[in-house]
């Protein structure tokens, strides 16, 4: 009974994560500014980390935990770099 509930929940979770990733991809493609694209790609990366966790739940192992550490540690660097160079391009008077 509980295994059935878990399986149904896993299907729903997969669909919802796919929808969230699609929404982030839409914002990356259509975003009006480069900062909106960076926000969306940041969110897409966090969604990827969560999907790695869901995969570990499905297959009942914890071998992907170091990958999650690496993504959580380095994922913000691109946002910081882009924001740094974008904010320098203020028109000098």
């Amino acid at each position: 009974m509980s295994a059935v509930i878990l399986n149904v929940a896993l299907i729903i979770v997969a669909v919802v994560f796919a929808a969230a990733a699609l929404l982030a991809t839409y914002r990356i493609v259509h975003g009006p500014g480069i900062l909106d694209r960076m926000i969306a790609s940041d969110m897409l990366m966090t969604t990827l980390i969560c999907i790695l966790g869901v995969e570990m739940v499905v297959n009942r192992h914890t071998t992907l935990m170091p990958v999650m550490i690496g993504l959580a540690l380095t994922g913000f660097l691109s946002s910081v770099a882009v924001a740094r160079y974008v904010s320098k391009r203020r028109d000098p008077k």
Partner: protein, 130 residues
Amino acid sequence: MSGADAVNAVLDILTAILLLLGAYFSLVAGIGIIRFPDTLTRVHAGTKPQVFGLACILTAVILSTRNWSAIAIMLLILLFQMLTTPAAAHMIGRAAYRRERPDDDRLFVDELEQAVELAHGEPPPAMDEP
């Protein structure tokens, strides 16, 4: 139903609830990124729920694999995420403020305006004229 079976059932249902909660937060972030009108509001939508959603997912991993020694790695991941997500959001918000001024009709209080104009050598707007 024996005791171990009952414990397994409870842990499975808890795992399902936590996974659904994490997925819900991710979906809310996606909808917020699409629906919000402004870069600053999109920063709010995109980064704020991700830490709690990730915490739910990681707790679900621990509960489903029953690998209690992975709690330390899980806490490390959460710590790094809590350290890096606000840093990235802060940098993006700063750049967004300086690059495209937020619309005045949507922004009621602008405490940064004086500081930015002071930093760029322009006279601040007269706030406390005698």
